[in-house]
Symmetry: none
């Protein structure tokens, strides 16, 4: 459960909270003259909100820790990321809305290419497209073995997810991905003795599935990773008395949102503007909106500083659509930093903006970027405090003690 | 126990520490042009101390949590407020120096008005004065029942405190205040089975007491709240080797101070100047002085920005009286924020000033207010660290490890 001291203080006053996450927002300026993507971007709306409200910077997990997307979002959602661990398989399954219940086993799959000796020649089967991968996935969907039920769903391109359901299945299984080519896929092994049955059943299914793919020209094999079961997260309604909605384009962010009980909304259009209009369409049905912008992270990972900067500008330009809805609390931040110069996620603190016109404390900072956020009135704080700040500024928390 | 790692490091070197708390000090500027009460106030002395020393801002309990006065003060005193919970009854009893020992039950009482059917018509008996309430309180003092001992004391106006002493009394009792008019007071009920005897005894006393008040013209009933026993807090002497004194005008702050073993001093005069002169009178008898200014909070709760600002100026003007005593460490802060614009306690961080001319580290800030404190050298830190900083700057803590 997110901070247990919050629950007795909750007061559902109907106020509206928006958490706008630009994935991988934080960047770094590596020389005195350098600029981060956020500093490069022309962001009059965000700067105005920063001037009016409070800014600061978050530590996503712990000092020095570079987060994956799952724990980074859990932290923003108020779930202590070292305590709540979502296996990648469960996250991926939730992303495509494939139910994983306690005791089911989910895993991520990549189609791969094998040579005649059964050694991996390409761990992603040449990154074949959605359409090229579909026939192989269709074959996998038909593979069943006695005693368990197996469901397979394509995620995107060569990626799929598998869920196995049955009695006495423990998810402590080791990956079959050898992480290199020229060797065969690994056998599924049990990480703990209790997982022996699950390992046997999974290996049995894999052998049947290999037979089914034998005639495929490229995708004649596959690798499984991230075996996991339902993480059993408390929901937003239970933890915060919030009817929460997720507005995201990518499956994995929908997945983590579903795991905390958010409704995943159908987008009314593309990009930031489409997402903000989606919030408008469903504004009366929910009181918390998690809006996720993916491309800031993608460009960061590609080392494309200008591309990342342009996406930030696109968000800024669309922002009036969101502001016209008059949220009581608007928070703008990232789940982690993805500095273009590093081409990867990083551990650096993440810029954070809190704007709640009736309750925020104006600070001395007047621009939204890494360097000003480091001096902001909210200070440097753990990302897992985000929901406490949101609820407080929405006046949804009563006084603690007399 | 406050941080257990402090105790082996303690070194009573005779230095003097002053903790000056302006209740509800923090405010908010809600627009770029707005000002908080602290920003409005002309405070040359505080600004000089801020320029010479270090400033920062505290989180009273946790991010987003609005504290009541009890937990907020415990935190400043170094007692983790989620761990040490003082029931209101025990706090109120300590405030009027009515002893509550482990196993006793204390509760707050309000005189109230009942109609002929026994329904509450006014939960505070028309807020009658000290003198008007006195006859009813005198009658309550005389009510005794077999098997227990009961003591009643007037707190202020229509408010009183009751302590019941006897064998096997558990304080887990529910309030009798129905929190509305037009209905009768609630019966005392046991929150857990072990409290049944206490509930029966308390209800027996209440019925006798109602009979005693039957002829009162206005205050012909009463409501009880906050049943509690002694919280068993470690004392300042035990935790910090400090002979501590409390200088406060209001009972509840005297109460929380007594519960941590402070001596409550008799004031030599009114207002900040009277309190500072009181410190001077008893300067040689103690080495820690907690000085409490109430009216900053009262004006904040009333939404009176100018009033709050004037009180801060009054404190500033009287400050030389305190500085003439040459404290080794002077800390100026609040227990929480009470922004006039919100007319209530809030969760916002609290300005903090630390001045210790022989040991402080001067930072870049030169004014004492919310916005500068957010940039100060002490950063944003939990209020529960206040005593560690105090002891350190007073050179009362030896090195940890070799």
């Amino acid at each position: 459960m997110p901070y247990s001291y919050l629950k007795p203080l909750l007061d559902d006053n109907g106020s509206k909270i928006v958490l706008l996450v630009m994935d991988g927002l934080g960047g770094i300026a590596t020389t005195q003259m350098g600029k981060s993507a956020l500093e490069l971007a022309n962001t009059p709306n965000l700067d105005r909100l920063a001037a009016e409200g409070s800014i600061g910077q978050t530590i996503p997990i712990r000092y020095g820790i570079t987060p994956g997307s799952g724990p980074a979002h859990l932290s923003l959602f108020g779930y202590e990321p070292l305590e709540y661990v979502i296996g990648r398989g469960a996250l991926e399954a939730a992303g495509v809305n494939l139910p994983v219940r306690k005791g089911d086993i989910a895993a991520r799959g990549n189609l791969c290419s094998l040579d005649q000796q059964g050694n991996v020649t390409d761990r992603r089967a040449g990154r074949i497209s959605q359409e090229e991968a579909a026939p192989a996935i269709e074959k996998l969907k038909k593979v069943q073995i006695p005693g368990v039920e197996v469901e397979v769903r394509q995620v995107k391109e060569y990626r799929f997810v598998i869920v196995m359901r049955g009695e006495g299945l423990d998810p402590s299984l080791n990956d079959t991905d050898p992480q290199e080519v020229g060797v065969p896929p690994l056998k599924v092994t049990a990480g703990i003795p209790a997982a022996k049955k699950a390992a046997d059943k999974m290996e049995e299914w894999i052998q049947e599935a290999y037979k089914a793919l034998a005639d495929e020209p490229v995708a004649n094999g596959f690798l499984l990773r991230g075996f996991a079961t339902d993480p059993g997260l408390p929901t937003y309604e239970d933890a915060y008395q919030l009817q929460a909605a997720c507005i995201a384009e990518y499956p994995m962010y929908k997945g983590v949102s579903r795991l905390v009980g958010m409704d995943v909304l159908d987008l009314v259009g593309p990009g930031a503007e489409g997402e903000f209009k989606t919030a408008g369409k469903y504004w009366n049905d929910h009181d918390f909106f998690f809006i996720h912008i993916k491309k800031t992270d993608s460009y960061g990972e590609d080392g494309n500083l200008e591309g990342k900067s342009k996406i930030i500008e696109e968000v800024d330009q669309a922002l009036p659509v969101l502001l016209d809805l008059k949220p009581d609390v608007l928070m703008v931040t990232g789940d982690h930093s993805t500095p273009a110069v590093l081409k990867s996620h990083s551990w650096h603190p993440v810029p954070f903006l809190l704007w709640a016109p009736e309750t925020h404390r104006t600070d001395l900072e007047t621009a939204f970027n890494e360097r000003n956020c480091a001096r902001g009135g909210l200070g440097t704080f753990p990302a897992v405090e985000t929901m406490s700040l949101a609820l407080a500024h929405a006046r949804r928390l009563q006084k603690f003690g007399a």
